[in-house]
Subunit: 388 residues, 2 copies
Amino acid sequence: MKIAIMGFGTVGSGAYEVTKFASDIEVVKILDIVVRKGYEDIADKFTKDLNDITSDPEIELVIEAMGGVDTPRKFVLECLNAGKHVVTPNKNLISACFGELTETAKKNGVQLRFTPAAGGGIPWLYNLLRTKRCDEVTEVKGIVNGTCNYILDAMHDNGADFDEMLATAKELGYAEANPASDIEGTDTLRKTVISSNLAYGTVIKEEDVPCYGIDTIKACDVAYLKEKGLVPRLMMNSKLENGVVSAYVEPVAFKETSLEANVKTNNNLITLTGVNVGTLSFYGQGAGMMPTGQSVVQDVIDIKDGIDMYALAGGDADVKVDNESAVHRYYIRHDNMCEHIEPLIESYEEKDGIFYCISKPISVVEMHKMGNHRKEKGRDMFFAALDE
Amino acid sequence: MKIAIMGFGTVGSGAYEVTKFASDIEVVKILDIVVRKGYEDIADKFTKDLNDITSDPEIELVIEAMGGVDTPRKFVLECLNAGKHVVTPNKNLISACFGELTETAKKNGVQLRFTPAAGGGIPWLYNLLRTKRCDEVTEVKGIVNGTCNYILDAMHDNGADFDEMLATAKELGYAEANPASDIEGTDTLRKTVISSNLAYGTVIKEEDVPCYGIDTIKACDVAYLKEKGLVPRLMMNSKLENGVVSAYVEPVAFKETSLEANVKTNNNLITLTGVNVGTLSFYGQGAGMMPTGQSVVQDVIDIKDGIDMYALAGGDADVKVDNESAVHRYYIRHDNMCEHIEPLIESYEEKDGIFYCISKPISVVEMHKMGNHRKEKGRDMFFAALDE
């Protein structure tokens, strides 16, 4: 099968390298503004003109690895409309344009696949869809952002503060120069939208999914939780119950003997619950050139071999997002015990003017509202749901 | 697709129940000596005559869920030779007759699949084969026996002794009346042979794989290890290095912050290492009516949909098993410090006439020889490799 790659950065070139391990896949065109260093010997494959790909009848499939939303959306639509299958690891694109892109693929009788868009190198979305063939998935959850996990794991191990570990994560290449989408939870949010859509056959919207990241966590939070045998992790949460989806992103404090608490460095651990299969978890590298490149190429091979698991993605289930029934006790750290917070607190300790609290059961909606309000006011606060 | 089920016990009836969640699969014949209680309404599907299945041209696929080796081997060969695809969760059969059965399937142009034979409800073997399409697998390892994990986890949690927890496991249905193949490691051995064969494209023999179980572990072992922050687990171990496979089954003492140490009750955790994908682990129910039934039906659906992942199983790689290069430090508990053991010991503590030792690096071959020798002599001993 002759294929093209659009965007030859880390993931694009990783996918190219992995195609060397596969049979019958040939990269014939690469769309990028420059010839990547080290690839001068295949400079003739490079082009800056999308038309060289869309108008080439020999190219059956295009890998989109450009990043961003607007340009990739335009280019992917052009490829789909030109009758090319598309594989993309681009979670921003899939989360924002899932309905439009799957519709366009269907209309043109081609496949759109995006297994690496959640879980990176882990065959998470693929197995999620495969499970659905003879099961009903009722829950998806997990650690899906390696940057956050690296920071939280390091803080737990060495007692360092957030800024210090974020700087180390940047040095190691685990965090980008602008890490906002990781630490504020937006990246996890997108993977929650994508995973929920495939799990339940829905098209849920990013703005309906409450999201609280780890950007306000401090060394004192991690130390307090550690003393209680707890470890914080940033979690994708999503359940289907009585026809209603609850989906949200927030830090969760896990017992130190849980699998989640023992996910090290930048790894991911993603879990589904099925009526028949029970609990099924997948662990591995959620990012990186070769793992993600490998996952891209697995999707390419599936298309080449006629394995159409994504036909099960659905996208027409009439299901609304409602988090009113999602209720937890929370760990809350804040700097003043005002009349808004006090009625919600079950017990607390005060140290140096800081309140370390365990709340009564609070709904996710209420907790996030409070957290975001305090964040807007520039007040000092962090919370994490208790896994119990 | 019209299918038949041979053997309608826990897994056979579980598979039947799961077919109700799948599209276009109809069970038309069930081979068993009795009509299972609760299935009187489909008594007309039951037969005692294999010929009713093999001679029915409408039946394209047969599920073998009888258990054992000799009769299933004969029946599966008859089905394959009659041009039926076969799906089986029978690890004893596949471990013992892998070469013969895959050859027969190939000859008849049908598929033989056995994803539930290692990992039960976990799509382990399927994903192992899928990974190979654009990667090189260099290692497979894991917790693949739920009975042993239940016992070890309970001993660690509550300090109970082996016999007591084995009895509880039997009561809960996690262990069979005769648990020898679980606790002596034979079940794990078979899954090691099957996983290695698929990972490396080999046909290795059960008798070439050293195996030491958990039947000699005592509460004092678990307590001693716990004091050192270690947790014992029975492990499948297998590596491909420089064209040589090392494969063996033995207890391993893991740090309490590892994933393996935190696998609870009767769950499994199975891991592969690939050159491209890195470390990839799968966690879930390694047994049980609905999880295993679900995995059987997934294989059926793959065959129905023309997904021939098992074509990658190979079976012709010329690779020998050699454990000489597999060397670990071991925890060893024994009852006399004789001249055979003392030179191998790096450090030890003596309590009440029992020696709790950490060994110098010892090869797996030598350690197992010593362990088996002592077991034959009826001497008190247990060992576990240190994961370091």
